[in-house]
């Protein structure tokens, strides 16, 4: 028998801290009267800030990667960077949520507490170094999200969305578990580092291993929302309260990408011939279906849902170019991160425009936004052009990195195809700009004064300007992604 080595608790300090804070938030919230619930909000946000600082300090404390908790938990640059991004994205998601859920009387204490548990799940995903921890983190995240979607109790569509999300999500978890169990049966291990070495010894030729890979990949593609496991995305994005949509569309994407890296690149690098093929198919279909179906939408949340499917397709391109290029993985990481920034901003603006229970989420509601609130329209313009990948916004550099990796990996045709889909995509982003700028608002909309709390306006401004500023000076973020993914 192996000697028992006590785990290095300090490595998991951010997660432990968040667990304590989430539990404390639960208790605090119960004792608070309705009108003091802002305290819960502040408490949760401060917890996120503190967790951010803790992770930051880990960056210096762990210059090289360490694996602890008997091989289940890892702290490396990828984990740290993912956690930082997740925490920042979640912080903004909560800032944007406040006004929205207040106006709709969505149970507030629960909202933030569930959110905090979801954040914890994402941190665990980021640090997972065995399939057990991956599954643990993923389920913690998913269960919290299902509940958050359902929080708007008086809304039929929200409940429907939650149900769909839950059922299909459970199916995906099943697929993932089935794949993991097969892998365990063959190799006798669920640790990523061990799997990497075991599979190297010729086992990767085994058909069952391939089958296991397909199952695991299906589960992960589902979580990312890529074709052919994308069906839940439009319904959930559309049905969920916008603040939750914002949350689902942001931080979890980064965390899911992180485990995709762990599983494909760290555990199964030998099988890249197989997974590259699967990813290529998924990426092409996602870009195709996402961009094409988005054109037909009249609801902006649904449109952005399809657009997110397409964006995930782009990110997968970086992953599949990864084995044959030096920069594929980091380009994909950069792509996801910047997409999250942009998507969060866009959903935030949608949430802000909706007033007191009236959901203004039809494309028509954006008609003449420039005349009603030029600054908000300009922010939306920056975000839309960023999604379309037009310089000087950051979306261009995200696509540039991917294309560079694809060309380097001799996938020139795939690069051309990706750009072709980008043109199709540009059409519906342009349409929003067209409505906002080229048209005059309806009379009825003019009566709706857009009132936004200064703090939230500052956050939106920060978000929109980030899309431009990161496009003008993308170097630092690219270097960070390079650092985390070698």
């Amino acid at each position: 028998m192996m000697n028992f080595t006590p785990p290095l608790y300090s490595a998991a300090l951010p997660e432990i801290f968040l667990l304590c804070m989430a539990s404390a938030a639960l208790l605090i919230d119960v004792c608070l009267k309705e009108r003091y619930q802002i305290i819960t909000y502040i408490f949760v946000q401060l917890s996120l800030v503190a967790a951010f600082l803790l992770v930051m300090s880990q960056y210096h404390d762990y210059p090289s990667s360490i694996i602890t908790f008997s091989g289940h938990y890892v702290v490396d640059k990828l984990a740290i960077l993912t956690k930082l991004f997740v925490l920042v994205a979640s912080f903004f998601a909560f800032v944007y949520a406040r006004q929205y859920i207040k106006e709709r009387h969505i149970a507030r204490g629960e909202y933030y507490t569930l959110g905090l548990f979801a954040v914890m799940g994402m941190l665990i995903m980021a640090s997972a170094s065995s399939f057990l921890t991956i599954y643990l983190g993923l389920e913690l995240l998913s269960l919290s999200l299902y509940a958050m979607v359902a929080l708007q109790k008086n809304s039929g569509v929200a409940s429907e969305a939650a149900m769909k999300y839950f059922v299909t999500g459970a199916l995906a978890s099943g697929l993932l578990l089935y794949g993991i169990s097969m892998l365990y049966g063959i190799t006798g291990s669920i640790e990523i580092s061990t799997l990497g070495t075991v599979l190297q010894s010729g086992l990767h030729q085994d058909k069952v291993v391939m089958l296991a890979l397909i199952f695991i990949l299906s589960g992960l593609l589902f979580k990312l929302g890529a074709v052919p496991f994308h069906m839940w995305v439009p319904d959930v994005y559309d049905g969920a309260p916008t603040s939750v949509t914002l949350f689902i569309a942001s931080a979890p994407k980064i965390a899911s990408f992180c485990i995709l890296m762990r599983v494909l690149v760290q555990a199964m690098p030998m099988m890249n011939a197989t997974w590259s093929l699967v990813l290529a198919a998924a990426a092409i279909l996602s870009m195709f279906a996402g961009n094409l179906l988005a054109i037909a939408q009249t609801n902006i949340k649904r449109m952005l849902a399809y657009s997110s499917i397409a964006h995930m397709g782009y990110a997968l391109l970086g992953v599949l170019a990864g084995p044959a290029s030096t920069t594929g993985y980091s380009a994909a990481m950069f792509y996801i991160t910047t997409y999250v920034i942009v998507a969060a901003g866009a959903f935030a603006i949608i949430a802000l425009l909706s007033k007191q229970g009236i959901e203004l989420d039809q494309l028509e509601d954006y008609r003449g936004l420039n005349a009603r609130n030029p600054w908000l329209a300009f922010m939306m313009l920056l975000l839309m052009f960023s999604m379309a990948g037009i310089p000087p916004t950051v979306g261009f550099f995200a696509k540039l990195g991917l294309l560079e990796a694809l060309v380097e990996a001799h996938y020139v045709w795939l690069a051309a195809l990706a750009l072709l889909f980008a043109i199709i995509g540009a059409y519906y982003y342009l349409r929003i700009v067209m409505l906002m700028y080229f048209e005059e608002p309806h009379e009825t909309l003019m009566e709706h004064r857009i009132t936004i709390a200064p703090g939230i306006m500052a956050a939106v401004t920060l978000n929109g300007i980030a899309a431009l500023a990161l496009g003008l000076l993308p170097s630092a973020l690219i270097d960070m992604c390079r650092l985390s993914l070698g």
Binding site: T327, N370, P374, L381, F385, I390, P391, P392, F396, F397, L400, G401, L403, E404, V407, E408, V412, A415, A416, L419, L420, A422, I423, A426, Y427, L430, R431, V433, M434, Y437, F438, P474, S475, I478, D479, R482
Partner: protein, 502 residues
């Protein structure tokens, strides 16, 4: 002096700063004032740029280079040679005209209009100054955003369609160029355009790159058959937008041929020069014929722009044939210089005519651009009619005006390739006079049929200033083109040596 060293960056970013300042103003009047002052300062900055330029050298001057994105070795690198210097000055000149014209014509969302055009001006200068491929691409695409907005926000009735068509068309054109640039980056490990020269790539690769570039630049020029976005965009855009489109944006395509296609893939260019010559001739003759039957003045000028740009592309790609037939360097020089001069002169001629249509349409309640709605304008607006005649003559290519110089140089050198090429190209002399003068006759002469024409006021001081500036340009280039040709000479010589197949 820091000012001399960073003059290109100042030229690029000052208009952008101006745009931000303009947006911060709270009245239309101040917005106009602020925007015009920024445009004037920017044009004045061209004086030290021109004087400080050493025209005997082909090297890039006023060079600035800073690491921008270290991960991909992308530099913020700018510099000018003779061709880009000419285009930058032209950009600043046109920029000022457009802002001044906008002061008069635009009543709605003035600050945003001025800001859009200032940003566009900055981006455009950036395109001409960039020596890093990605920086070039960023400016190249970035300028689509303000152009898209200006067509859509201040355009006429069918503007949504025109704006989206314009954007998607040009976006489609550019994407293959991006892939070609990335391929070249993978070959050389650098995004510096100069490093792409003389790579000696294999023929199939050269051809692939050539066609990737061709799509991008042909859409911008625009060459037949990818020209269909232009009549729509020109027609629907506000007068200022049409001027920028015609005077500057079309030139980007030719500039791309000179900067990218010819020096980077010379063998492919030599091989496919025949195709390019045929496409150019089609543009000259076929589009010229199409122009004759137009009923909309703006559409007519738009088609005439395409035909004139055909001359520029002809001048670019004839050099291979000239050297092949006669190996007369002098004619090759003349051909390329003719192409560049054609770019400048067309900017004056068509820019002025688009402004003229704007001036006319502004004076009509219906803002009509149809030829049939006007006649006898000369009786009411004699000064305007005189100016317009001058620019129409430049468009036709009358000796003494700017339009003559470029066309003459190109046709002269065309005789060195093949008689038939020169003959077909010369048809433009007939076609251009037909469509331009026929339009002139129908609009300015004849009896006044429309009541509205009787109340038209002649040019006010602002419009007169604009037209005087343009008239000076037309005459200067027509009678004494030496200042421009001097600046171009060394650069074009160097370009020729780079663009010849080894």
């Amino acid at each position: 002096m820091w000012f001399q060293q960073n003059i290109l960056s100042i030229l690029i970013w000052l208009p952008v700063l101006g745009a931000i300042t303009t947006l911060l103003t709270n009245s239309d009047r101040t917005a106009r004032l602020v925007a015009s002052s920024f445009a004037i300062v920017n044009l004045l900055l061209c004086v030290p740029l021109y004087l400080g330029f050493d025209s005997s050298s082909f090297a890039l001057q006023f060079h600035e280079k800073r690491l921008w994105i270290s991960a991909y070795q992308i530099y913020y690198a700018v510099g000018v040679d003779g061709i880009s210097l000419t285009m930058i000055i032209l950009t600043n000149f046109t920029g000022l005209l457009v802002i001044l014209a906008g002061c008069q014509a635009i009543k709605l969302r003035v600050a945003q209009y001025m800001a859009a055009f200032l940003v566009m001006q900055g981006m455009m200068i950036g395109v001409f100054a960039a020596t890093d491929a990605i920086l070039f691409y960023v400016f190249w695409e970035g300028m689509l955003i303000p152009m898209y907005l200006s067509i859509g926000m201040w355009g006429s009735s069918n503007r949504n369609y025109a704006a989206v068509k314009f954007f998607l068309y040009t976006f489609l054109g550019s994407i293959l160029m991006l892939i070609a640039l990335l391929y070249l980056y993978n070959q050389t490990g650098s995004f510096d355009i100069q490093h792409y020269y003389g790579l000696h790539l294999s023929m199939p690769i050269q051809k692939a790159i050539f066609f990737a570039f061709l799509l991008a630049f042909a859409v911008k020029v625009p060459m037949w058959p990818v020209h269909t976005w232009l009549p729509d965009a020109h027609t629907e855009a506000p007068a200022g937008g049409s001027v920028v489109l015609a005077a500057l944006m079309l030139k980007l395509g030719i500039y791309g041929f000179l900067r990218f296609s010819m020096p980077i893939v010379p063998e492919a260019c030599a091989h496919l020069a025949g195709l390019m010559i045929v496409l150019s001739l089609i543009a000259i003759v076929y589009i010229g014929l199409v122009a004759i039957v137009q009923t909309d003045m703006k559409k007519l000028i738009a088609y005439s722009s395409i035909a004139h740009m055909g001359f520029a592309t002809l001048g670019c790609f004839m050099v291979y044939d000239i050297l092949h037939h006669a190996s007369a360097h002098q004619d090759a020089y003349m051909s390329l210089e003719g192409a560049v001069v054609q770019m400048v002169s067309h900017a004056f001629g068509s820019g002025a005519m688009f402004l003229g249509v704007g001036i006319l349409a502004d004076r009509m309640v219906s803002h009509s651009r149809l030829i049939k709605d006007y006649s006898g304008v000369a009786a009411r607006m004699p000064i305007f009619a005189a100016f317009f005649m001058l620019f129409a003559m430049s468009n036709v290519g009358l000796p003494g005006t700017a339009g003559f110089v470029g066309e003459f140089m190109v046709i002269m050198s065309a005789f060195q390739t093949h008689f038939s090429v020169a003959l077909v190209a010369s048809l433009t002399l007939i076609l251009a006079s037909s469509y331009t003068l026929w339009m002139y006759k129908r609009v300015f002469f004849g009896p006044i049929m429309n009541q509205e024409v009787t109340t038209m006021q002649d040019l006010n001081w602002l419009e007169t200033t604009n037209y005087v500036l343009l008239a000076i340009g037309v005459f200067l280039l027509g009678l004494y083109p030496a200042p421009v040709l001097n600046v171009l000479h060394a650069t074009i010589g160097h370009l020729l040596s780079l663009s010849m197949p080894a």
